[in-house]
């Protein structure tokens, strides 16, 4: 089946700067495997060390979350659109003096100091 995988902005740098990739696959898992075979840097952003899809990355088949379908075994039809939708926090623009870690802590953080 010819399907299209939509790549979100944060991950485009690991996918040849493309916003979508077209490939042939029969299931969601096969499509993601094909994608990460083509772009190996994407792998660690999509899967954890146990080979499971990361919990802050959601995969949608058309407008439905694959967690509520058959997960990676979900079969694909021709012209289906798969979307990778990672969580984004928003707002912060550049590296603060404390480094990457303080991307989280800079504003409105949860510790009363």
């Amino acid at each position: 089946m010819a399907v299209k995988v939509m790549i979100p902005t944060p991950l485009r740098q690991y996918a040849g700067k493309q916003d979508s990739v077209e490939l042939e696959a029969k299931t969601v898992g096969e499509a993601l495997a094909g994608l990460t075979a083509q772009y190996s840097d994407l792998r660690r952003h999509l899967y954890n060390d146990d080979g499971k899809i990361r919990s802050f990355v959601n995969i949608y088949l058309n407008d439905e979350d694959i967690r509520y379908l058959h997960k990676e075994q979900t079969p694909l039809n021709d012209q289906d659109v798969l979307s990778i939708v990672p969580s984004i926090a928003g707002g912060r623009t550049l590296d603060p003096p404390g480094g990457v870690a303080s991307v989280h802590t800079r504003a409105l953080c949860c510790i009363c100091r």
Partner: protein, 390 residues
């Protein structure tokens, strides 16, 4: 959605009727909706990029009480998108600037400033006085805190988030719909969060997403239309494309599921894996030199290579004379361009990316290598103020 509101206990003055006339002549709002707006109490978390359009439009629309939580001061880099603040506000607390702007737009709005970091200790107390919370924060820890506090207090969470050219919006934590944890059970570990090299945001983007949040907030208040509950709106500004995904309430959700395990607010920095990172992150043992020492090396005519590991578009903004650009992502592939026998100084904007580059090069056998402490920002502060900061 907010059943507690009745349109009977308040009235509009003659001046208010004139001010809100374009609402009042629409049957979807009308006097009933406008009185609901006047009685509504909305809490905005963050007075920045998303908070600006939220506060401006909700104030203009006549929301009776607007709470604002922020502890930051306005700086020049905010002005490109945080349109509630102006040039003369730089250096002022954002809440003071916001109070002036909102009073000018609509003096009938009661602005309640909460000059504080939102935290597990104060969130429930602050939330108690409001009907709806709109989340305009910029970090994962606060997003999970806002979500859990909304679920615990039963207040709708009008969510918006942005990254570069891309935005997300939804309405969470309503009785019938999913919450943020149904969508994302866990935050990304700090190491996988996009770093400065991929940062930045188009100024209009938070304007568009914040306006969607304002719209959804007003719809919740007046109880009209189809709220963005159970739907995730994705906006791609570059393609100018809106897409909508279906969100389901996760029966296993630890916050809003059938058997919730989150019955109080937790330590959200620990949950987000941040605790302890501050100390661990600037890699230990990376040899550093200061901007003043670098200047002395130049003045003494010493032979060394100065490597800039920022991105090309940052190199276009400013540079240290004599530097060679090798973006961090290319260092591994291009280290053959460097002479390991020679002394090398590596820099970036603030010193984080260059520390990673130095670490990488040391592992590859480079020994006479130093990280410029504080990056080109420190160079501008300590050596050459004509170098612009960004």
């Amino acid at each position: 959605m907010i059943e507690t509101l009745t349109a009977e206990t308040v009235a509009l003055s003659k001046d208010e009727i004139l001010r809100y006339s374009r609402h009042l002549i629409m049957p979807e709002v009308g006097m009933e909706g406008q009185l609901k707006l006047k009685q509504a109490k909305v809490l905005l978390i963050g007075a920045g990029g998303l908070g600006s359009p939220l506060a401006l439009y909700l104030a203009a629309a006549g929301v009776g009480r607007l709470g604002l939580v922020d502890f930051d001061v306005v700086d020049f880099t905010n002005l490109q998108r945080q349109i509630m603040h102006g040039t003369s506000d730089v250096g002022r607390p954002k809440l003071e600037s916001a109070a002036d702007t909102i009073a000018e737009i609509n003096p009938y709005v009661e602005l309640v400033p909460h000059q504080a970091r939102l935290c597990s200790e104060n969130a429930l107390e602050i939330f108690a006085d409001y009907d709806i919370v709109a989340d305009g924060t910029d970090n994962f820890a606060t997003r999970y805190l806002v979500n859990d506090a909304c679920v615990l207090t039963g207040k709708p969470n009008v969510y918006g988030s942005i990254f570069r050219f891309e935005g997300q919006a939804s309405v969470f934590a309503t009785r019938e719909g999913p919450c943020y944890r149904c969508l994302y059970p866990e935050p990304p570990p700090p190491g996988l969060v996009p770093s400065c090299a991929e940062g930045g945001v188009l100024g209009v983007l938070p304007g568009i997403v914040g306006c969607i949040q304002a719209l959804e907030t007003i719809k919740l208040i007046i109880g009209k239309g189809e709220p963005l509950v159970g739907r995730l709106l994705l906006f791609d500004a570059l393609q100018l494309r809106f897409r909508e995904l279906r969100l389901r309430k996760n029966p296993e959700c630890p916050a809003c599921g059938a058997r919730p395990t989150i019955d109080h607010l937790i330590d959200y920095e620990e949950f987000c894996g941040i605790r302890g990172q501050e100390a661990a992150e600037p890699m230990n043992g990376i040899p550093e030199i200061t901007a003043v020492e670098l200047k002395r090396m130049m003045d003494e005519g010493r032979t060394f290579q100065l490597v800039d590991v920022r991105e090309p578009h940052e190199f276009d903004i400013c540079r240290i004379p004599g530097s060679v650009l090798i973006p961090l992502g290319d260092v591994a592939a291009r280290m053959n361009e460097l002479d390991s026998a020679e002394e090398i100084v590596v820099h970036c904007r603030s010193g984080m990316r260059s520390a990673k580059a130095v670490d990488l090069l040391r592992k590859a056998g480079f020994r006479r290598i130093h990280n410029l402490k504080g990056g080109i920002l420190a160079w501008s502060d300590q050596v050459d103020p004509s170098v612009p900061k960004y």
